[in-house]
């Protein structure tokens, strides 16, 4: 039986795992023994693509054509606050696609983040195929719990482009809890908090683990807060210092900013365990007289902590809200699990301890636990692990526009999936002919601040004064977070149904075009191409086929 791989598609690093024969998650290492792969993609001037550590190495010499952090852009609009912040300091260009999505421009070509993520996914798939010795077509891919439908769909589209059948999108903290709980003897119900601060996103999930049942009680977070923000804060300060001293703006010199960025990240890692780190970058740039700037500076942990204090503060509100949503007090959380590289930062750990009033556990490897959990979930889906089940929730409120600008919630956030919710609405006008129901996702009471999911119209309403006609709305969200909506007028029973297909920004046609390009590039010389319009030639095979009437379809 072929295996389903679990992929942690991270902002900075990605990781792939599979269940071994004993049902234990196993991290699959690449050819050089690397267990995680940088989520970096680089293009040479000849448009040769490299992925992973090789791409990352080009980050300095080929900065403008080396892309990282695509996960921050995927399924996002270019005018979102954090996207523009990210764009300001990114050494590559971030541009707006015709629909306003954030894309990057490399070698003069606009490239969607989906395509970049697809390169990383394909690399992870290749690592798995090498390790397993068989083709892999199915994967469970993790995303931050707080990703909205557009970001999730965009990630799915990336899988399609990579030739992967993504059978399920799994939330990262849930994956971490699964990996964590899977190898623990059941000892009654435990409430745990999974605190996941990765490269680009922050997620907090409160879960209960009880005899193989993993139930998410509440989830929250910030899709635009992660380790790279610490790097960036630090980097900005150093850039300012250099500007003050030498009057040189490093943000205009891609190679210099890339070197400095690398050095900042390295220094941050050192400062997680030491109090001091030195950044030494000879010939970083030239000043206005043409003399080289040999940068050499010692930084202390205290200094960086001072620069990033407000980032720590942003961690608190989502944690408290998740607790409130779960109906629990901080001291009812029995264990706090740390996930994501940034949780190695001492000040982050101190913040976690302050919020939950207990020391967080550091048992699991924060870089690998998510991929391991994805593999464990793949085992549940394939039926290999049958004593566990995962009960996940909707991360955002789902509702409709009422009146001019209000948001009426139908499915509250943190509802256990699958879920079905009903709500009855009334017409607002005399002899109203139809209602147009617009569905939104988000937390704001103002509908404009939430994200539109789709629309459904119910017409031919019976005449009557305002409020006399009742429309019942039933929203069903399945385990894959797919939404179906039924609107029914109570008296006549007239109804319409719509299944909402989330859009990740790329149209089906665009995805097909990207795939077609990829098919051309990839050597599939062994296989004659499929011409969808052909059909003139008939060839029979020796396959014995069985067919039978099927009345049910």
């Amino acid at each position: 039986m072929s295996r389903i791989i679990g992929i942690d598609l991270g902002t900075t690093n990605s990781c792939v795992a599979v269940l071994d024969d004993r049902g234990q998650p196993e991290i699959l290492a690449g050819a050089d023994g690397e267990r995680t792969t940088p989520s970096w993609v680089s293009w040479t001037p000849q448009n040769q693509v490299s992925v992973g550590i090789r791409a990352r190495r080009q980050g300095v010499t080929n900065a403008a054509a080396t892309v990282f952090g695509a996960k921050r852009l995927i399924g996002r609009k270019v005018n979102a606050d954090d996207v523009s912040w990210f764009a300001r300091l990114a050494p590559f260009r971030i541009v707006a696609a015709p629909n306003g999505d954030a894309w990057v421009r490399v070698n003069g070509q606009p490239i969607s983040p989906q395509e970049i993520a697809a390169h990383v996914l394909r690399r992870m798939r290749a690592i798995a195929e090498e390790a397993l010795g068989e083709p892999v077509t199915r994967a469970v891919v993790t995303v931050p719990a707080y990703f909205d439908d557009a970001q999730r769909q965009a990630t799915r589209d990336a899988g399609t482009i990579a030739g992967l059948d993504i059978i399920r999108i799994l939330n990262e903290p849930t994956a971490a809890a699964l990996a964590y709980g899977a190898h623990r003897a059941s000892s009654g119900r435990r409430v745990i908090a999974v605190f996941d601060l990765g490269g680009g996103t922050f997620d907090i999930s409160i879960m209960s683990v009880d005899n193989g049942i993993f139930e998410v009680l509440a989830t929250g977070g910030d899709t635009a807060l992660g380790g790279e923000d610490w790097d960036r804060r630090f980097l900005e300060r150093l850039v300012d210092e250099i500007f003050d001293k030498h009057r040189v703006d490093l943000t205009t010199i891609p190679m210099a900013i890339s070197r400095l960025r690398e050095a900042c990240e390295e220094a941050k890692k050192q400062l997680s365990t030491q109090n001091e780190a030195t950044i030494a970058l000879p010939f970083l740039a030239n000043d206005h007289s043409g003399a080289p700037i040999n940068y050499d500076r010692t930084v202390t942990r205290e200094h960086v902590e001072g620069l990033t204090k407000d980032l720590l503060d942003r961690l608190e509100a989502p944690c408290l809200r998740a607790l409130a949503d779960a109906g629990l007090a901080a001291n009812q959380v029995e264990e706090v699990l740390l996930v994501g590289g940034m949780t190695r930062w001492p000040a982050v750990q101190a913040t976690v301890e302050r919020i939950y009033k207990r020391k967080p556990s550091k048992g699991a490897n924060p870089d690998e636990v998510v991929a391991a959990g994805a593999a464990a979930y793949a085992g549940i889906l394939s039926g290999d692990a049958d004593d566990a089940a995962l009960l996940d929730v909707t991360p955002h409120d789902i509702g409709i526009r009422v009146g001019d600008s209000q948001f009426a919630v139908v499915v509250p956030r943190n509802s256990m999936l699958p879920v079905r919710a009903r709500r009855v609405f009334a017409t607002t006008a005399e002899n109203q002919k139809f209602v147009s129901i617009e569905l939104y996702q988000g937390e704001s009471t103002e509908v404009a601040k939430n994200r539109k999911l789709g629309q459904i119209t119910l017409d031919d309403l019976p005449p009557g004064p305002p409020g006399s006609v009742r429309v019942e709305l039933v929203i069903t969200v399945d385990v894959e977070s797919l939404l179906s909506v039924v609107a029914r007028e109570s008296k006549t029973g007239r109804q319409t149904t719509v299944t909402i297909r989330p859009s990740g920004g790329l149209s089906a046609r665009e995805i097909v075009e990207i795939i077609a390009r990829r098919r051309e590039e990839t050597s599939v010389a062994n296989f004659p191409p499929i011409d969808p319009n052909s059909g003139g030639v008939r060839v029979t095979t020796r396959e014995h086929m069985v067919a039978k009437p099927d009345d049910e379809e």
């Binding site: 039986m1 072929s2 389903i4 798939r125 195929e129 010795g133 068989e134 083709p135 892999v136 030739g163 992967l164 059948d165 059978i167 009880d210 193989g212 049942i213 889906l381 394939s382 039926g383 049958d386 566990a388 089940a389 995962l390 699958p418 879920v419 079905r420 399945d478 385990v479 995805i511 097909v512 795939i515 098919r519 990839t522 599939v524 062994n526 296989f527 004659p528 191409p529 499929i530 011409d531 969808p532 319009n533 052909s534 059909g535 030639v537 008939r538 060839v539 029979t540 095979t541 020796r542 396959e543 014995h544 086929m545 069985v546 067919a547 039978k548 009437p549 099927d550 009345d551 379809e553």
Partner: protein, 441 residues
């Protein structure tokens, strides 16, 4: 798809096979199907092509003409509708990786035998398999569907199978057990989306029940609505008050024999040697997965004897000793009370201890005395149903239980028995499907 369209499951056991199909068929937008009784030209055909990695790609096509090939017999040629680019890419990239992986193992091992006629391997078996799987999936959907119907009639306590005096932990444990069985993820490995949807319906019912009685406050409310106070007498709870008989009210011991009667209602049970009882009549609402005795109209031609034995669709009741119940003589409690002076709790006791014939007699007497009381008439149906169940006549039993509920919708025992029968039917079909798919249960 229009009625009359054909649905075919085609499983590729190896990448080699897929490669062959790709070259010969897919790449030319056509497909040859062998068929002894070919469908008419213009028939729509849907093919679920399962890759060796278990990804399913759906192809659609139309029968274009009938052909007779001297080597392969008669069949039809399909013109395939355009295959989505993403599916093509999935196949191509998998084949590309496969050839890369194989090239590598060839280079390393040197002696990996590559079959020269890969297209002849294993296809027949997996195709037959595919058909059985499709049938088994549909039957499982039907079984789950009737479970949805019966669960809808139950109150939250009965949905979860807990007693009215259950505590938080009991409710949670019951919910956890049912979740492991009915969460849609448990059905993710099957191809049928109907399966997942129906399972989701059941899960939503289970989850709603859990939400209603998951904590003490809401549980008290529900109890009040049901007109009950938490009393251990209401329904014997398997956990709180272990009944003197080994049979808990809802959860039967997981017997592999689906049609075995509910075991051991009485103390001493006679065992009859295994003879050949009649095969239970299929219940129309939950048809038995009896693929052997139902020749499916097919355009297949079975080439010679089947390539591999068809998996036994039903674990045969005839192979195990069947505990015999009410029909046998057995020790009865000394001097039963006069039948017409029984109160409901005594009747409950009778049923609990499996004295169905006694209870039936009592219900009959009581019903004659008070012909307007629905409880007693429902009780008669219930007892008849239990008797039928003991005789493994599940069709009759189901009808009796339904009749009991019709007369008296508050008859919990009937509702419970019905739900339990449906649950067992589901389990059987799940087991069958798992066996067909070569998975452990």
């Amino acid at each position: 798809m229009a009625a009359g369209a054909l649905s075919i499951k085609l499983r590729c056991a190896s990448w080699q096979q897929l490669s062959t199909i790709y070259r010969r068929d897919l790449s030319r937008g056509a497909m040859f199907l062998k068929a002894s009784t070919p469908p008419t030209v213009g028939t729509e055909v849907r093919i679920d092509l399962t890759l060796p990695s278990d990804t399913v790609i759906t192809l659609t096509g139309v029968v274009e003409k009938h052909v007779v090939d001297p080597a392969r017999g008669s069949g039809v040629e399909l013109r395939l509708a355009p295959i989505p680019e993403s599916s093509v890419w999935l196949i191509e990239s998998a084949l590309a990786s496969e050839s890369k992986v194989r090239a590598k193992t060839d280079a390393v091992g040197g002696a990996v035998p590559v079959s020269t006629t890969p297209q002849q391997t294993g296809v027949i078996g997996s195709l037959t398999d595919g058909e059985d799987v499709a049938l088994a999936e549909r039957e499982l959907v039907a079984a789950l569907g009737s479970e949805v119907e019966s669960l809808k009639k139950l109150n939250p306590f009965l949905v979860l199978g807990v007693g009215y005096e259950a505590a938080d932990a009991d409710v949670r444990a019951a919910f956890g057990e049912l979740t492991k069985r009915y969460h849609p993820d448990r059905f993710a490995r099957y191809q049928s989306t109907d399966l997942r949807q129906t399972a989701a319906e059941i899960f939503i019912l289970i989850r709603d029940a859990y939400r209603k009685i998951g904590d003490e406050v809401s549980r008290a409310q529900v109890l009040q609505q049901l007109g009950r106070t938490p009393s251990p007498r209401a329904v014997p709870n398997p956990r709180a008050t272990p009944p003197p008989v080994p049979r808990p009210p809802i959860k039967r011991p997981p017997t592999a024999d689906p049609s075995a009667p509910p075991v051991a209602r009485t103390g001493p049970v006679a065992t009859i040697p295994s003879h050949q009882p009649e095969r239970p009549t299929p219940n129309p609402t939950v048809p038995l997965p009896n693929s052997q005795s139902q020749p499916v109209p097919s355009i297949r031609e079975q080439p010679g004897p089947p390539a591999r034995p068809t998996p036994k669709p039903q674990m045969p009741p005839e192979q195990r000793p069947v505990p015999n119940l009410q029909t046998e003589r057995r020790p009865v409690l000394a001097s039963p009370p006069p039948l017409d002076s029984l109160d409901p709790s005594q009747l409950d006791d009778m049923l609990d201890s499996g004295r169905i014939d006694d209870a039936l007699a009592a219900f009959k007497v009581l019903s004659k005395k008070q012909p307007t009381d629905r409880t007693f008439r429902a009780g008669i149906e219930l007892c008849e149903g239990l008797r039928s169940l003991a005789q493994r006549d599940r069709l009759e039993a189901a009808q009796r239980f339904e009749a009991a509920l019709e007369i008296d919708p508050s008859n919990e025992r009937a509702a419970r028995e019905l739900a339990e029968m449906r649950r067992q039917a589901t389990n059987e079909r799940k087991g069958l499907l798992s066996r067909l798919m070569g998975k452990k249960e």
